[in-house]
Amino acid sequence: MQKLTSKLKGNKLAQIILLVLYVLVTSLSLYLAQASVTAFLLLLFSLLILYYTELPDRLKWLIAGIVLIGVIPFVSSTGPGYQSYMEVATVVGIYVAMALGLNIVVGLAGLLDLGFVAFFAIGAYTYGIFATGQAANFMPFGTFPLSGESFWIFILIGCFVAALFGVLLGIPVLRVKGDYLAIVTLGFGEIIRIVFNNLDKPVNITNGAMGLASVKPPEIFGYQFVYPNQFYYIVLAILFFVILAVRRFEFSKIGRSWKAVRENEIAAQSVGIHLVRTKLLAFAIGASFSGMMGVVFAAKQTFVDPTSFTLLESITILVMVILGGMGSVPGVILGAAVITILNLQVLTEVTNYLNQLSLDGVISFPEALAPAKMQRFIFGAILIIFAIYRPQGLIPAKNPVFDEESLKEGSKKHRKEKITVEPDKGFQA
């Protein structure tokens, strides 16, 4: 095995051939054996392999794009499991965007936010209220529900409203830090949930615990988006922009000041970083991704109620960030994918399998131990194990290191060659 990897190292052509072979084999097996969850997961796994190849970044993005846009939807489209695969892929996309948002707040800026799902809820309710008849109860003008065409504008509106709430949360929170911040954000998340749960009187805005039913599906030129495979492309498009934005932010001046604030607030302040602005930006940008995905979530489920936005959800997103690696974009994407697939596919599959076994009388299996119910246990264990043994996560964050001499010379070409990448020390101390 070691021989093989050493041979592969540096040989780009071999890597490409191997990757293409892998994708072909897994897609073919998914194409032929439609019910096979394993084949679907293996096909998704090809993206991780792609990440570890030594191809140039552009080629990597191109291949990833082809696999995501073309190969995965196509090969899973012929069988009965199509919509459920696409559903999983869509949910993975939604969580990846949220985890990337939380990664900015926790991973880069070092502000532990335990109420992150609140922004998701805000996005979902923003669209939900206006895309059902609910808004007619308090809006004096306009006819409701708005048509599905408005969905596209609402992605932006959801983004802005969530960012606004991010800032609103940020303003009071700026005075507290560390553990206190965690508690305050937790309280904020609970407050938002309780308010949405009870805002059916005096004016019925959110329809309380009953939730908003039959939210209008998105529509463009009379074409309605109803099925998961259609939402898949919406999510993919938004996700593309989110990843682009995150990568831009991370290595910009703002990104560096986030990291500085994370390492030492007072030192960061004394080198001229505007603490308030930096922290508020982190909250606002993190929240905005979540808000956008909230809108998509509301449109996809066509039903919004407060039970989707509990503390467990916030912790789930936190687990994604920790598992993948705080501050590391590829890590967080991996973490979000692993946890979502674990929740949606693996745990339910194992539960079904075990139930089948106990129905057949092979083993007796108590209902209480069903893996699908063990989410909290698994999350708890992941949090503890990763905190103790691997706080930097599955794919540790990396920082580019610039060579001072060549920077001084200033030649652009020179600079590009000299950049090396070194592990981010933030969470390893």
Binding site: A182, I194, L369, L383, I384
Partner: protein
């Protein structure tokens, strides 16, 4: 409006003190650990919850074996309290050993995440043990101490109505007072208490004065968790029904109480707990009247969190705490 509020005031006070006493003891656990490690022990609410489950399980077991009928109820309760508090005490020590000690020198964020992990783990662990044994994770204990008393507030002034309370409320309050006085005595008057205070002040210097810091931290976790577990039993006896998820919100409110009184300050935690309990009961009873029916009792949790946020913003050192300046 005022007359209505006054009418219900005695009952609000009795219920508020009972709830506040529970908050106060849980808040002690938070405050002790925070004082010594500067760590919010998120799992403390879950230790309380586990205590409640162990207690109820023991009571059910004793009922099944006919012991409960054979001995006086108060003796049974004391027995259950002692056993539960020892068990949860050791549980607290174990949690510290496994999940917090390896992280003592890592960034605070990491320790906090580990604490959240422990809390989630415990919730599900208790859930599936209970569900496995009884088929349902919501547990109702045998009813004890249900005789009702009334205090004749109406004889003082006709604007008050009578307050009713159960015997269990009385037992709860007495037990909590005993626990608090005991703890206060222990921390302020004994050698081990002095060691605890020394470690809280400065861990390194304390270790130079031949104090075994690890032992002191373990002891702190033991005492805090034992108190939390015992309170869990009292809570179960007082309110009857428990489920594995009561610990988190209750713990959060107890933490609010600790912050309110000044975290790290034991007497402050007691005062903060009582204050929060009474305020919350007052809000639950009167929010509807005060806001003309716009907000109801369901907003009482919002009220508690709002207090937390306001205190943290305007007086982060709490009502009875001293402000500390941060070292760089």
């Amino acid at each position: 409006m005022l007359a209505e509020i006054l009418q219900s005031l005695p009952q609000v006070l009795v219920d508020g003190i009972a709830l506040g006493a529970i908050y106060a003891v849980i808040a002690l656990g938070y405050t002790m650990v925070y004082g010594i490690l500067e760590l919010i022990n998120f799992a403390h609410g879950e230790i309380f919850m586990t205590g409640a489950f162990i207690g109820v399980a023991m009571l059910i077991l004793m009922t099944g074996m006919g012991w409960l009928a054979a001995m006086p109820a108060i003796l049974a309760l004391i027995l259950v309290l002692v056993v539960t508090s020892i068990l949860t005490g050791f549980m607290g020590v174990g949690i510290e050993r496994m999940a917090y000690r390896p992280l003592r020198n890592s960034p605070k964020l990491i320790t906090l995440i580990s604490a959240i992990g422990v809390s989630f783990l415990l919730q599900d662990l208790v859930r599936f043990i209970t569900e496995y044994k009884r088929g349902n994770y919501i547990l109702t204990g045998p009813s004890m101490f249900n005789e009702k008393f009334s205090i004749k507030f109406s004889s003082i002034s006709s604007s008050f109505s009578d307050a009713f309370f159960k015997t269990s409320t009385l037992i709860l309050i007495i037990a909590v007072v005993i626990m608090m006085i005991g703890l206060d005595f222990f921390v302020n008057k004994t050698k081990w208490g002095m060691a605890m205070r020394a470690v809280a002040q400065d861990r390194e210097t304390a270790s130079l004065m031949s104090i075994n810091v690890n032992k002191v931290i373990s002891l702190t976790f033991f005492i805090g968790s034992a108190l939390g577990g015992a309170t869990g039993v009292l809570f179960a006896v007082q309110y009857g029904t428990i489920d594995p998820y009561i610990g988190f919100i209750l713990g959060l409110k107890a933490f609010t109480a600790a912050v309110l009184g000044g975290i790290g300050n034991i007497r402050g935690a007691m005062a903060g707990g009582l204050m929060l309990g009474i305020l919350e009961m007052f809000a639950a009873a009167n929010l509807q009247i005060l806001t003309g029916g716009i907000f109801g009792a369901e907003y009482k949790d919002v009220f508690a969190f709002a207090i937390l946020i306001i205190v943290l913003i305007f007086k982060p050192e709490g009502l009875f705490g001293k402000a500390v300046t941060e070292k760089v």
